[in-house]
Symmetry: C4
Amino acid sequence: MNFGGMLKLSKLVKSRNQLYWKGLFGDDPIKFLLLFFVLYVHYVYLFIYAYLVFLYSESSGKFENRIYADYSIYKGKAALSAGPAPPKFSKLDSGGLKVDRCGTIMLTFTPASGERKYDWEKKQRFALSPTEVGSLISLKALESCEFFHDPAMKSSNAGQVRKSLSVKPHADGSGYFISLSVVNNIQKTNERLTVPVTTAEFAVMRTAFSFALPHIMGWDRYTNQLPKSAGENPSKGVSQLDLEWDR
Amino acid sequence: MNFGGMLKLSKLVKSRNQLYWKGLFGDDPIKFLLLFFVLYVHYVYLFIYAYLVFLYSESSGKFENRIYADYSIYKGKAALSAGPAPPKFSKLDSGGLKVDRCGTIMLTFTPASGERKYDWEKKQRFALSPTEVGSLISLKALESCEFFHDPAMKSSNAGQVRKSLSVKPHADGSGYFISLSVVNNIQKTNERLTVPVTTAEFAVMRTAFSFALPHIMGWDRYTNQLPKSAGENPSKGVSQLDLEWDR
Amino acid sequence: MNFGGMLKLSKLVKSRNQLYWKGLFGDDPIKFLLLFFVLYVHYVYLFIYAYLVFLYSESSGKFENRIYADYSIYKGKAALSAGPAPPKFSKLDSGGLKVDRCGTIMLTFTPASGERKYDWEKKQRFALSPTEVGSLISLKALESCEFFHDPAMKSSNAGQVRKSLSVKPHADGSGYFISLSVVNNIQKTNERLTVPVTTAEFAVMRTAFSFALPHIMGWDRYTNQLPKSAGENPSKGVSQLDLEWDR
Amino acid sequence: MNFGGMLKLSKLVKSRNQLYWKGLFGDDPIKFLLLFFVLYVHYVYLFIYAYLVFLYSESSGKFENRIYADYSIYKGKAALSAGPAPPKFSKLDSGGLKVDRCGTIMLTFTPASGERKYDWEKKQRFALSPTEVGSLISLKALESCEFFHDPAMKSSNAGQVRKSLSVKPHADGSGYFISLSVVNNIQKTNERLTVPVTTAEFAVMRTAFSFALPHIMGWDRYTNQLPKSAGENPSKGVSQLDLEWDR
């Protein structure tokens, strides 16, 4: 290769550049630096502005990482807390949203360790499925119900731990006893936590659970959908019943 | 054509341009290119920024194309799924929104093809209208109801396919049998799918259907309207009853 | 006044300006025009961008001018439509929002003019107040209720027009007759429109009216308020009961 | 101190600056001022634009400082108003939101001071807790209930003021008497305000209170959470029951 030629070209380019440089800024290269600095400040400003707008929209956003709003009933021997856990959705390739796992209403029982003191280390949980919630909110006066869970279901520990939740009415119809019994054959423990619930407290649970039920089922998502304009729909004017043909 | 004349003109234009050019930038036309380049970068930057803001607002949007959150009951001989279908709206010239077609709650029955297996190819659908939903959620203990649909109603096939949904209480009041019967005179088929539904499952359906009913009627749209300030209203101070005059 | 002196001053200023101008741009005033033009384009661009952002946020907004989603029951002699009318709010100087006039649920009765035809010119309206809605949704089986309105109440025509809405149960408990009677002493007319409503249709009305009731009362506004952080509240840790002291 | 040396240094700096200045702008320092002014205007413009965007997003926001939408019942001897007070939240370090103090439904009793006149100076308040609301909305026909509050509970004035709210059915089952009794041992006063409430008015309260109950408990916050995509969750495919293990 002809390195001598390349060197000459390089020199030529360099000398031309120097000429251009001199032609451009004459005696004052600082003029260029000033312009560069001003524009640089401008872009930094715009980035900071965009970031502040982003932060503001985040902070005034409508969702929080996690909500702690359990309804708690503190009684002599134990406390009972209840709060909804939202369903898990998965995004489909089509852009849709599918309930992957139904939400629950989580009941937490905590034994008392003294007067108005509760031992949160010993708390026990029971996650009510939508159908179990339906059972609770449709409970009539003097009716009772009971649910059984195996937290290790389908694993090698299946059958070793048995949880049961029972709701039994007071004899005088003035409320219910809600009990969680946990029999753990691995740890050889057998715990039973019972919380008496008044009619008023049960009414709060019934109302709050009824409110939460469509949400843990994911049905509240349907109401956030955009209105579908009939004009965009090719089947305009065709009865909804036609959808029943589709099988 | 007189190419000579055109050439002269071209030369003239060029020489005039060169004069302007020289007057504008003296010895350094590159200065102009630099300014042009800086401003060009600036606009490209702003467009990218605007596009990112647009993308962000889209992605954090509250609506999805489609939601899949059916409530499903799997029983030995068939499965029953229920989920709301939103109403279709059409936009009026006045800017208003009109329900063009009421939403429904779609019931899907699927026959079992084995243990815990269902033959989704053979599913049958029944779309409950708002009034049919009202009938279901007001069903009292030991009451029954039945609905008839003709999917080909008002077409030439009218009367050939007859669907009927019946809800009948268990003898002991512990729930309902929900059956879909499809008699198809074209395909000479006669199918009947029955799913036993417990009181708890029916309570879930009742609560979820009650939640969904105002939405399939389009009444949830009323609650998203802007508050109408009385100050903007010429009839301020006039009783609402006056509206009753308007006929 | 010494106009000669002013003239001299004016000349001086002008000649100084010309010197400045020359010092600033030398032989090329076009340079200045170019810079001015570039900046002008820049601002026009920013205004157009801001306007587009504004338009986009408007169009994707969550409110529509007006919603038409009445629940309609078409019967042989008349049709009955029902739909909520939102309350009117007024903005307080404190920035708060006050219900100025409660919303209603508007019932519209239209007489039939033939088979499946209704004479919309002759429609009659009755606006249910929140308490009247409460009366309707708490109606037990075989109970009836009646409301009286004077659309010209508190005007000089008071007592001339008398509207009454009556809800009477079918003898077999299978639904209700809803009648609107309008006695107009000015026009010497006496109209009565009756629509038989099935239990299922009444259940839809009961569910939809129960859904709409908090909205026509304006209570749905409470739920759109920002969460009040306790940290911002000087009375943190003080019981809510303290508010009861305030009188 | 050597002021002479400092003076020399100052002169040197000044002369160097003058040289730089001259090298930068030659005969026209005004050119620099013009550029500076143009950029300054630019930034002021951007700040004003950002502020207007901020103001617009605030004004079109979905929350107001305070809502006044009490449901009021005006009767001969007193008026009763009811409206929800939202819960207080505190922000956790984790970014979550915790109910710090439950909301209430505030009842306000105002004695009549003449025909259709009420003495707002003498109003008395009673804040219903969620459980008390549950008691009210689950009240069956001909049932009664009573609540006791001590506004000075846990302070040195404890026991001095005693408020009690009683809800007693009319003998014919056509509604309830709602009474607030305030015994103040400090001011030696004993007031009792009673408002008769019809079945229809009680139905409005029941429906509105049931609507408000999940909101004063803070459960409506759960429904504004972002959908949790299962893909982002390491425990995908694991049963919800597993959460019950966690203690």
